[in-house]
């Protein structure tokens, strides 16, 4: 495997592991579609951050898009709780409005912002090696996207490691968690904040919609294979890495988008895990 391929697979794997870990919590909470909404609606945040800071990556971008991600959550809650819009419609209205706003901003600022709509939707992992992080004295530290995702992974591991019990309990049984005195609302927003962070960090590599594929498919695959949550987290991460490798191979074979190929591989792995689960239960029943 040459250095380019290695860099692409490394970035893909980091992104996939981030998404898989977080997605495991999200699908347990029945919030897969909130993640979908956030991943669409960070677009205007990214455009605004571009506009104000001129940066294509780094701190301002993460902050701007993360803020819009949280705003999406608040918008959905406002429509649902305060304005009494039913929850599926609240999600649909919020993210389509913000995404439309983002597309309009991209068009309006086309001269000033180097960002095109297709890239926003499905990213381009293959370009990752073209954007290395060069230090002042000219050292090539590898692709910038790998550093961003790596940083994100560290944050995720620290938060999950320190607060596993809280996140786990508030996800599985919010009523019980509340009776133990855990602030379920706070943990909800912590997870939504992490979702924004991971989405933005993964965004440039895989685009808005495939973030959702990686957040939903590997955890759903792991869920077919185990019922223990810790095992599910580990399996989901492993499936994520497998997805990145398989996606690269498929994309290279077809000369197509790596991110799209990763989503397809993720779907195929899900079908395989589901069939394996069925087969096992059939054997156990026989």
């Amino acid at each position: 495997m040459d250095s380019y391929a290695f860099q692409i697979v490394l970035c893909g794997a980091l992104v996939a592991v981030n998404c898989s870990l977080l997605g495991s919590f999200l699908i347990l909470r029945g919030q897969a579609l909130v993640a979908d909404a956030i991943s669409h609606s960070v677009l205007p945040g990214i455009v605004a951050a571009f506009l104000f800071s001129g940066a294509r990556a780094g701190g301002p971008l993460l902050v701007g898009a993360g803020a819009v991600g949280l705003l999406t959550t608040l918008g959905i809650e406002f429509l649902h709780r305060r304005a009494k819009v039913q929850s599926d419609a609240a999600i649909g209205i919020t993210f389509t409005a913000l995404f439309a706003l983002g597309v309009v901003l991209v068009t309006a600022l086309a001269g000033q912002v180097d960002l095109d709509q297709d890239c926003v939707l499905y990213g381009e992992l293959a370009y990752v090696p073209l954007d290395p992080w060069l230090t002042a004295n000219g050292w090539d530290l590898g692709p910038r996207a790998a550093w961003t995702s790596g940083f994100c992974l560290v944050v995720l591991l620290v938060v999950i490691g320190l607060f596993f019990k809280q996140l786990y309990l508030t996800s599985f049984d919010p009523a019980y968690a509340a009776s133990l005195g855990l602030a379920t609302g706070v943990w909800h927003y912590v997870l939504m904040g992490l979702t924004s962070l991971v989405t933005v960090a993964s965004f440039e590599a895989v685009g808005a919609i495939l973030v959702v594929a990686l957040m939903v498919a590997p955890p759903a695959t792991a869920f077919q294979l185990t019922r223990r949550f810790r095992a599910m987290l580990g399996l989901a991460a492993a499936v994520g890495v497998l997805t990145a490798v398989g996606g690269y191979v498929l994309a290279a074979a077809l000369d197509a988008s790596v991110a799209g190929a990763m989503a397809v591989v993720a779907g195929a792995l899900f079908v395989a895990a589901w069939a394996w689960g069925k087969w096992r239960t059939a054997l156990a029943g026989a």
């Binding site: 699908i27 029945g30 919030q31 897969a32 579609l33 993640a35 979908d36 669409h40 429509l79 305060r82 304005a83 009494k84 819009v85 039913q86 599926d88 419609a89 999600i91 649909g92 209205i93 389509t96 409005a97 995404f99 439309a100 706003l101 597309v103 309009v104 068009t107 309006a108 086309a110 709509q117 297709d118 939707l121 499905y122 685009g207 919609i209 495939l210 959702v212 594929a213 957040m215 939903v216 498919a217 759903a220 869920f223 077919q224 498929l250 077809l254 000369d255 197509a256 988008s257 991110a259 799209g260 190929a261 990763m262 989503a263 397809v264 993720a266 779907g267 899900f270 589901w274 689960g277």
Partner: protein, 427 residues
């Protein structure tokens, strides 16, 4: 102002196509969206729209060129497959419905991106413009597209009109529909087909990502203005068509602007306006009603308090200073309540104090009477312990109408004392 005139006289054929196309789409898709909204399955439409991308690409690969029937056929087939998978997965694979939607949507979309990029890198010159399906191409609508779109729109509306009763029952109470012998599976099949058709039409204008907005947003907005389905359908169609008009107008005035996202933004603005301003269910109307209720409760509680203080002293001809009134209200709030009661003629000022007018005395006595009657009713009829009835009566005393009051008096045979041995005051 020339822009306005040029636009609204539809002198330019292109303007005519784009505007009419966008309005037809906005209106007819919104009508189908109403049923999806009522069944709480708005996001399934979003998933279907995303899932059409691989079908469009396959249609292109099979036809070898951008032939609309092949593209639409492919979109229809893959959208259909996606919706069936979404129905099937939660039962087969222990997944929640939202996980199933997210999974199907993103994996299908990923497959679409894979095919699209493979086609683009493949060097077939005919593929240029295929990616328009991502964001729609309303601004590029031409006469033949308009024919197809009107055909789709009329079909959608006709089917909804013909099967109106069946679809309405399915949306409101599927269990009942099954019980009275409606072919529920067949109707679900019909509605699924309608949704897929609507989405096929929608992606022409606004693209796969934003079609969900055409389905959801006008329906949700219409829901806030009415409880009646026919009116809701008409309103959703009107709002959808208006959004289409607005989007077409913006992209006419600013040609660089994409029509689809502006249609969505217009619909979103209309929806937000509806959520805030609709009479009855709107946020402002509800806030106003709650405020009126809070004020009424505060006023009646104060009148009741003054009456009971007079009752305890056996002297109703007294004035009280605000500091002597144990209402639990903050001083500023209490002062406001007192002022309102004076303006309504229930209180008068006497020196530094406040006193009940005859009308105020009357109303305070009535509230006290209702409170005590209700407490007695709860102990007599529901067999609740006397120390458990006060809180409920605190609420009911403000709600009981004169008719219910009469009925209570009759049932309890005009009792003299409440469960706490307080005398019930009559006129």
């Amino acid at each position: 102002m020339d822009g306005w005139l040029d636009f609204f006289t539809f002198r330019d054929a292109n303007v005519r196509y784009v505007t009419l196309g966008a309005m037809l789409l906005g209106g007819s898709v919104a009508v189908v969206g109403v049923f999806g909204y009522l069944r709480k399955r708005s996001l399934a439409g979003d998933a279907v729209a995303h899932a059409m991308l691989p079908g469009i690409c396959l249609g292109f690969l099979l036809a070898g060129q951008k032939s609309l029937p092949w593209l639409v056929g492919g979109a229809f087939a893959s959208g259909w497959l996606a919706l069936l998978t979404i129905d099937w997965l939660p039962r087969q694979a222990r997944l929640k419905e939202d996980t199933a939607i997210g999974l199907v949507m993103s994996v299908f979309f990923g497959a679409g991106i894979l095919l699209l990029t493979a086609i683009q890198h493949g060097g077939n010159a005919a593929q240029v413009g295929l990616e328009d399906f991502l964001f729609g191409r309303a601004a590029a609508l031409v006469g033949s597209d308009l024919g197809l779109l009107s055909g789709l729109a009329v079909t959608l509306l006709l089917v909804v009109v013909v099967f109106y009763k069946e679809l309405a029952l399915l949306s409101f109470d599927a269990a009942y529909a099954r019980a009275v012998g409606f072919p529920v599976r067949g109707l679900e099949f019909l509605l699924t087909t309608l949704t897929v058709l609507a989405v096929v039409a929608g992606i022409q204008a606004v693209g796969v990502v934003l079609t969900a907005a055409l389905l959801v947003t006008p329906a949700a907005a219409a829901r806030f203005w009415t409880h009646r389905l026919p009116l809701m359908l008409a309103l959703a169609a009107g709002l959808g068509a208006f959004s289409g008009l607005a989007g077409a107008w913006v992209s006419y005035v600013a040609p660089a602007m994409p029509t689809g996202p502006w249609i969505v933004l217009a619909a979103s603005a209309l929806a937000l306006g509806s959520f805030l301003l609709a009479p009855g269910q709107g946020l402002l109307a509800r806030w106003w009603r709650q405020r009126a209720h809070r004020r009424k409760f505060a006023e009646e509680n104060l009148l009741k308090l003054l009456y009971k203080m007079g009752e305890r002293r056996q002297d109703h001809d007294r004035a009280y200073q605000p500091a002597d009134l144990p209402t639990g209200q903050a001083p500023a709030q209490l002062a406001a309540t007192l002022r309102r009661l004076r303006a309504e003629g229930y209180l008068t000022r006497r020196g530094p104090g406040w006193q009940l007018t005859p009308e105020g005395y009357e109303r305070g006595r009535r509230i006290t009477r209702l409170h005590r009657l209700w407490e007695l009713y709860l102990t007599e009829y529901l067999r609740l312990a006397p120390d458990h009835v006060h809180d409920d009566a605190e609420t009911m005393e403000h709600i009981i109408t004169p008719e219910i009051e009469q009925e209570l008096e009759k049932r309890l045979r005009r009792p003299e004392f409440d469960p706490h041995q307080n005398r019930i005051p009559y006129d």
